[in-house]
């Protein structure tokens, strides 16, 4: 998502009421024109009914998220012909009216469509999003099961919109003139889902943390003036807090940034048992009188994430504009006087909704707490051996773990610090690396006495003549600072060598705004400074794979079961 100026954040705050109202008004949506730079996302639409009305309604939602869609339309075809695709797209949208396949029952339709999607996957590496109008929820589920083996292929829940709108989902008047049976309400609803959830969930890096202001954001009132019993948890604030309480289980950190007395805030969360959100839900807190931009920077440091992966929610638009000016790229949402509006703004905030939530997401918040205990242990122990022995570190490696495709691609797309080439590899491309005999993908899982960090390492190695090249190497920030980077890289490379048997090892690299930790490692391993913006260099100081005493290493056959 593109960076905006502070003025843009104020405009976006003004837009929220219309964009996230229960029933957005079409003519008001058309008035919203972005005055900030938008990233172009190319969407190819394979369709058998009209999509153009959805495209019009999507524009303001996409602009809110910092992007604009450029559409490539297929001809109208029930057969889904993928033979005329000449240029790459960022996402493939399948937009079908189920009612046009009267001759196929649900089972036949699932079988036919999954075969077509499999064929599409063969010719495009972009995420595929399938939107079937007038299909039942059970058919959507069956289709999702049928395409589970197809990388980055997602079945959107159109039936949910149909259920929500009832008779208002369709409007047969529009069929002859508008080329679709969907009603205005359905088209608006689906446009919002596509622009705020379905496309960003497949294409953009996810939001990793939500940082919250306290007064008039999580409740109505001001703690310092109304006191902990005087502030009002309205039904809307209760629902908003309930939603936020669920985010850490989905792998999204919660942080608190408030101008208050720390003791008052801690007591508030102890005393107010009616609050769905609890003090322990926050992975980082900055309470005091310091500048909020400084507080957010400190939060990003504590959470080990970049500040542009944080969504900051505050009821004061001036505060939002001020932090946006200091931290361009930070995501912001205005906490509205009506908390239900804020809730819908969060539910639809681009990048916060994800297609899948896995074990690695659930581990994230626990892992951060463990890392603080680990740092304390490192400060206390005298030797590296003692440190590893006390932690009981276990590293598991997997070669080409196809079952973890989504997580490996996510690591490539999300990791900013220890990411050597910033390749941002889509799932379909990752699957190709795994199935080719000229490349290998190694994943590594890390566990110790304090936490199970899950899959935190990914390396893609390709054959380069008689040599090998590391095409991508990512280590999650959750695993950094444990003195294990060199161990993981050495062990992973040894495993890739088993498959590819290369002579020398090279590494591809590209400088980004935040991948200094990875480049520092590469400078040491290559023995040369990395002066240009990207390149390929030979690794000279790797040596044999190391395994420090106290660290156990094992090989997982056939990947790792995340369930």
């Amino acid at each position: 998502m593109s960076e905006r100026g502070a003025g843009a954040d104020l405009t976006r705050a003004e837009w929220q009421t219309e964009l996230f109202s229960e029933c957005p008004r079409l003519w008001e949506l058309l008035k919203l024109q972005a005055g900030w730079p938008l990233k172009t996302i190319i969407l190819r639409v394979h369709r058998n009914h009209a999509f153009e009305l959805v495209a019009t309604m999507m524009a303001s939602y996409a602009a809110f998220g910092g992007w604009a869609a450029q559409f490539i339309y297929s001809d109208y075809s029930d057969a889904l012909d993928f033979s005329k695709m000449s240029r790459a797209a960022d996402a493939e949208l399948i937009w079908l009216d189920r009612l046009r396949y009267e001759g196929l029952d649900d089972l036949e339709m699932v079988r036919w469509l999954s075969l077509r999607l499999s064929q599409l996957r063969g010719v495009s590496t972009a995420p595929i999003i399938v939107m079937l109008s007038f299909a039942s929820s059970s058919m959507e589920l069956d289709l999702q099961r049928a395409v589970d083996g197809i990388a980055a292929c997602y079945i959107a829940g159109m039936s949910e919109t149909a259920q929500k709108l009832g008779d208002d989902f369709f409007d047969t008047r529009l069929e002859s003139l508008g080329g679709t049976k969907l009603s205005r309400s359905a088209l608006t609803d689906v446009a919002r889902e596509i622009a705020c959830k379905w496309v960003p969930g497949a294409v953009f890096p996810p939001i990793k943390a939500v940082a919250l202001d306290l007064d008039n954001t999580l409740y109505s009132g001001v703690l310092g003036e109304d006191g902990r019993e005087g502030i009002d948890l309205t039904p809307g604030h209760k629902e908003l807090q309930g939603y936020l309480h669920g985010l850490p289980k989905r792998g999204v950190f919660l942080a608190l940034v408030s101008r208050n007395q720390r003791r008052d805030v801690e007591e508030l969360f102890t005393v107010r048992e009616d609050f769905p959100i609890s003090w322990t839900d926050f992975s980082a807190t900055r309470i005091g009188w310091t500048d909020k931009a400084d507080s957010l920077l400190e939060i990003s440091r504590q959470l080990r994430i970049s500040f542009d992966a944080i969504l900051y929610v505050d009821d004061n638009p001036g505060e939002l504009a001020s932090v946006a000016m200091r931290l361009p790229g930070l995501q912001t949402l205005h906490a509205r006087p009506d908390p239900f509006e804020t809730l819908r703004g969060l539910e639809y905030y681009p990048g916060l909704w994800r297609w899948r939530y896995g074990k690695d997401d659930r581990l994230r918040t626990h892992d951060l707490k463990a890392s603080q205990a680990r740092s304390a242990l490192l400060a206390e122990t005298v030797s590296e051996e003692d440190y590893f022995s006390l932690l009981n570190v276990h590293l598991q490696l997997a070669l080409d773990p196809m079952s973890r495709l989504a997580r490996l691609s996510e690591l490539s797309r999300k990791t900013n610090q220890f990411n050597v080439a910033l390749g941002r590899i889509p799932e379909a491309q990752m699957a190709r690396y795994m199935s080719s005999c000229d490349s290998a993908v190694v994943g590594a899982y890390l566990k110790d006495r304090l936490s199970d960090s899950g899959l935190i390492f990914m390396m893609v190695v390709k054959r380069l003549g008689k040599d090998l090249a590391i095409e991508e190497l990512c280590i999650s920030c959750r695993a950094l600072g444990r003195q294990l980077e060199a161990v993981m890289i050495g062990q992973a490379l040894a495993l890739a060598q088993r498959k590819l048997k290369g002579r020398r090892v090279y590494c591809r690299w590209r400088k980004g705004p935040r991948n200094q930790p990875a480049l520092e490692w590469l400078e040491k391993a290559s023995g040369q400074p990395l002066e240009s913006s990207e390149g390929l260099c030979a690794l000279k100081f790797l040596g044999p794979p190391v395994r420090p005493p106290g660290v156990t290493v094992s090989l997982l056959e056939g990947g790792y079961d995340a369930k």
């Binding site: 003519w27 208002d168 008047r173 003139l177 205005r184």
Partner: protein, 92 residues
Amino acid sequence: MTQNELERMVVETFSLVMKRSLGLGEEVLRFREAAWTSLKHVELILALEQKFDFQFTEEEMVELKSLSDIRDKVAKHLLQPTRSPHERTLAR
């Protein structure tokens, strides 16, 4: 709502949908307006229906061939509220 207010609201909606500025009282004929495609026609109808809270019949949708047609039809609906297609189906 006065005639002037109605005219202003119709013109504003038309301008937003067709992405072109338009003066009050100005006539626009569909066959002369390149941007007035069938999809833009539907978009305009949907925006007007939501703004004025009524529904055109399918026949009316086809009959709207100029801005003055639209203004007249909107005025007629506002004077004589009609049932939506769903309501008509239910009433039958």
